[in-house]
Symmetry: C2
Subunit: 199 residues, 2 copies
């Protein structure tokens, strides 16, 4: 058991606050969550928040900058190691898991998006964070789709569809059966391939 330096202790507090903030913001929203709630959820009191972040809004922005694409990036990395066929199944599974198991992910993404839309000065930052997982996906798609423009377009479609289906399943599970995303991907790539040959 090693002693923590002052800097390490502060970093640990910071991480705990960010994790707690992610949960509370997901459940109550940026405006609906109180600083007190977040601090308490992290096991600290208000003061800890203000000594680590300037304000509630700055805490939210830090969360957006550091964690907005964590899960998506990690998912993309896992996909990158899978076989093409297997990847489709894995993607379908991902919609189910994210929609059914991770209660906080989609609402938090929605909060981030709303904040970006309402605060133009952060929009580019947000867009950049979202481009990272997309670029990873584009690379993955590029293995079976030679044309780089097509690969980019397809990955944009895949991500938009993923987000849309996750939200839809969250409020109306029956409308998004387990294999729907996988099926959509098969149709999409079959169609795109046919299109390519036709040229």
């Amino acid at each position: 058991m090693t002693r923590l330096t002052r800097a390490e202790a502060k970093a640990r507090t910071r991480e705990r606050l960010l994790d707690a903030a992610a949960r509370v913001f997901a459940q109550k929203g940026l405006a609906g969550a109180s600083v007190d709630e977040i601090a308490e959820a992290a096991g600290y009191s208000i003061g800890a928040v203000y000594s680590n972040f300037g304000s509630k809004e700055q805490l939210f922005v830090e969360l957006l900058k550091e964690k907005a694409n964590d899960r998506v990036i990690r998912a993309a990395e896992i996909m990158a190691d899978a076989e093409p066929d297997e990847a489709r199944r894995a993607f379908s599974q991902l919609v189910i898991e994210v929609a059914d198991k991770d209660a906080d992910f989609a609402p938090l993404q929605a909060e981030f998006w709303l904040y970006a839309v309402r605060n133009p000065e952060l929009m580019e930052t947000y867009a950049e964070r979202m481009r990272e997982p997309r670029d990873l996906l584009t690379e993955l798609v590029g293995r079976s789709v030679p044309d780089p423009d097509r690969a980019g377009e397809l990955s944009a479609i895949v991500i938009a569809l993923f987000q849309g289906l996750v939200r839809m399943r969250r409020v109306d599970p029956d409308s998004v059966p387990d294999e729907l995303f996988g099926r959509a991907l098969r149709w999409l790539f079959t169609g795109a391939e046919a299109d390519e040959e036709q040229k």
Copy 2:
């Protein structure tokens, strides 16, 4: 110029409040918007809100119930009169218009969805409202896709993709070129058709 009855005057006030609420909630969110702001935007004062709606939250719920799918329903109706080929172009155009011109639509949809996720007692109501435009679309898709299950699945995919692309274009326009949605639909339906023949 005809005189308004008492009931008509009240109905008019109610409508104006709902319209103003749509704008203000879209721009500031449910928690971020104040009742005062909404009343002022409608040209009334706080009292008018409380005499027509029980609370800020009830006003929001009324808005969700009455207006959540207005635009989508109307869009679906327009599509229903178009030729299949023309419909794809019209859909693509719709993404652009909704994302670029109607500043309030997507944020308000996000607010509605977040509210439904956070308030389970309203989730089914919300899901029903969203099923209406989807059913219209299913009928439209049914013209070219005989299997009703397939038609239902395809319309779920189309709507999820539509919402996803609108949000993506809103924060990162370059990633969603004008014709992307139309192209995605062509690939999707081509692929689904090929799938059907294969059986």
